[in-house]
């Protein structure tokens, strides 16, 4: 949009000529100057400058549609009003149909809780035909921690839809529709993301999964390069949001957890080369006085870019999915477990999990965690 050439707009010839002569060639050149600056630069009367700016602004201004018209359009073109159903009753109910199109949905939780399982399950669901609740499309799966297991993908498919996946041939077809990308550096990830437009069209991609956003960024950009890290994350968020909106598809990203608070600043629960590493159990940690409050990694700016945040947490031996951030539902949580068919809800109860905006994550794992301080 910034490169909208003035020559493509219908300005009066005399005016267009003056703009060109003074090197004001794009809409940005014109609108980033105040009217007074333009009058002085172009030596044109105020009224003419104002009318030229009005024409340019009208062209650059995004279209204005009523919400009803937009919704009607979507109802005609999209499945389930723009959602990918998850099969988890409470989630589909409280998210008005499932994982929504057009926005970023984040899955947060500590290691082993089931984030990758969730992603694999959603990948299967996206490839299913529409009459079975899917989007009949391909999936691009960014796997930065090498956790993808194609065997598990196929197992979920077979157990979830036994009548559909009757033969190995059909299962193999599924495997060809999930395209795996395993970038090893942040730069490579960025490059791939920037080149996605083409692939999305070519392969009929209907779901994008990034598992996980945090891993590469955290290992390459430590706390001493936090400004650059935030910048990179900002760029990633912009690209992803743009893709989600323009192609009207769901995008699932996973994120790790980190500890907030504690003496002298923040500690991260995952190691990175060259930093001091200690191992403590949870009890030892609390005895040391480390205030262990888990929260999603990557900070508030990233949190802001994400529309829906689902937190996977464990408490007293039970696992819960909590809708921690969603414009359309309160903070509720429900039981789940990991089964052969992926992730399934246990029981019908939903619980109120609001904690006054602190956005903390419950955890109690039986194994010791590694700290880097």
């Amino acid at each position: 949009m910034a490169s909208t050439e003035l020559s493509s707009l219908e300005l009066k010839d005399s005016i267009a000529h003056v703009f060109r002569a003074r090197n004001i060639l794009t809409a940005k050149d014109a609108l980033f100057k105040t009217e007074l600056e333009l009058v002085e630069l172009l030596d044109m009367p105020f009224e003419e400058v104002q009318s030229a700016l009005a024409i340019i602004s009208a062209k650059v201004c995004p279209p204005c549609h009523s919400v009803f018209d937009i919704l009607s359009e979507r109802a005609k073109k999209e499945a389930a009003f723009g959602h990918l159903p998850t099969g988890l009753g409470a989630l589909d109910e409280y998210l008005w149909g499932g994982i929504p199109f057009g926005v970023l949905t984040e899955i947060v939780g500590h290691a082993g809780i089931g984030k990758t399982q969730f992603c694999l399950m959603m990948s299967v669901l996206a490839t299913m035909p529409e009459d079975l609740g899917g989007l009949d499309g391909s999936v691009i799966y960014f796997d930065t921690e090498k956790k993808f297991r194609s065997g598990r993908l196929l197992q979920i498919a077979k157990y979830r839809f036994p009548e559909h996946f009757l033969s190995n041939r059909i299962l193999e077809q599924l495997a060809t529709r999930v395209l795996l990308v395993q970038p090893s550096t942040v730069a490579e990830l960025m490059l791939r993301l920037q080149g996605l437009e083409e692939s999305i069209r070519q392969h009929g991609v209907r779901l994008l999964v990034i598992d996980s956003v945090a891993a590469l960024v955290q290992s390459e950009y430590g706390y001493d390069r936090i400004i650059q890290r935030q910048e990179i994350l900002g760029k990633q968020a912009s690209i992803l949001k743009h893709l989600a909106e323009v192609h009207r598809m769901p995008i699932i990203v996973t994120n790790q957890v980190r500890f907030q608070g504690g003496p002298g600043g923040q500690a991260t629960a995952f190691s990175s080369a060259g930093r001091k590493e200690i191992t403590l159990t949870a009890e030892e940690a609390s005895q040391e006085g480390l205030d262990l409050q888990l929260t999603a990694a990557l900070g508030t700016k990233w949190a802001h870019a994400v529309n829906i945040r689902l937190v996977l947490e464990s408490l007293s031996g039970n696992r819960y999915i909590k809708i921690a951030k969603s414009p359309m539902s309160a903070t509720i949580a429900f039981h789940y477990e990991i089964t052969a068919a992926g992730i399934e809800q246990i029981g019908d109860e939903t619980f109120d999990a609001s904690d006054g905006g602190r956005n903390m994550i419950q955890w109690l794992v039986p194994y010791p965690l590694r700290f880097v301080i």
């Binding site: 009058v39 009005a54 995004p62 919400v67 009803f68 539902s329």
Partner: protein, 346 residues
Amino acid sequence: MDVVTLALPPSLRSKLLATGFCTTTALVSVAPFQLAREASITLEEALAVLSLVPRTCSDHTGGPVAGSTTAWDLLMKNERGRIETGSVEVDKILGGGILSKELTEICGVPGVGKTQLSMQLAVNVQIPVKFGGVGGHAIYIDTEGSFMMERVLQITEAVIDSLRIKSPGFSAAPLTAEDFLSHMYLLRVHDPLEQLAAVNNLPTLLDQHKEVKLIVFDSITFNFRQDFENMRERTRLLASMAQKLMAVAEIYDVAIVLVNQVTHKVTSEGFRTVPALGESWSHVCTNRLMVYWMDGQRYAHLAKSPSLPVGTAPYVITEEGVRDAHESHKRIKLDDAQVRSSRSLG
């Protein structure tokens, strides 16, 4: 009084100065033909110059200059409707609700509910006058992609339900969700250029949709917080944008709500949360509503207003939208569930 103060292009201005027409008093007594000849400009240009020159004229109010309104007239005209927020307590600290012709800023951390409040206002503005509302349409300018259709639909249906219960005449001529959503216009702005263009284009939009009574910018600051190397340019553009918005609010008699983010400022006492974009932006809004969390409860705090005292009110966000804080929770809390399950295990 200098000819410099007239809104003229530079070449015309320098011609006038070079031929001795330095002050507006010199221009008052000269005829167009004469001016054109003396200053070597066209007759058209001379007429344009002379039309800008202030001359003695009287004002019907007896004051020195035309175009004023007395404070008395302003007071008498003051029955402008107010747009409710959904929470009676918050409306109280706002003197009844959001007022037209004013710029109201809603400021807070991510996740506290600014978008929720904005969407609620965009629905509430449409409540018909006979049911205590303002009966106007809304323009929602979304700069972050946080506007969610499903949520607006949810809020709309809740408003319709409560109108059906509270207002007896409503069922006779009910409004549907389609009515509400057809009168809410959405613009998705992606960068500072589109935002500036949208502000410039508001008069055109408002001429097309004459019943608009509310414009929401969610958020006004996002596009200006990053990628701006030249801070002076940014300050100038923001100031210019602010003045245009004020003119629009005044001329078209609309309320403008600006959602702002917060940032952390280092002071002698440590960190303080302040509205983003700094001091130069802070003075722009007529009213400022800060929303924040405290002890697990959401609060709205009126921090700036020309006529109302500062005040704080609690509110909640339910599935129906923004409501008063005494709404009860219907679900069991997660902690209680733990107690139950641990008991059943033990």
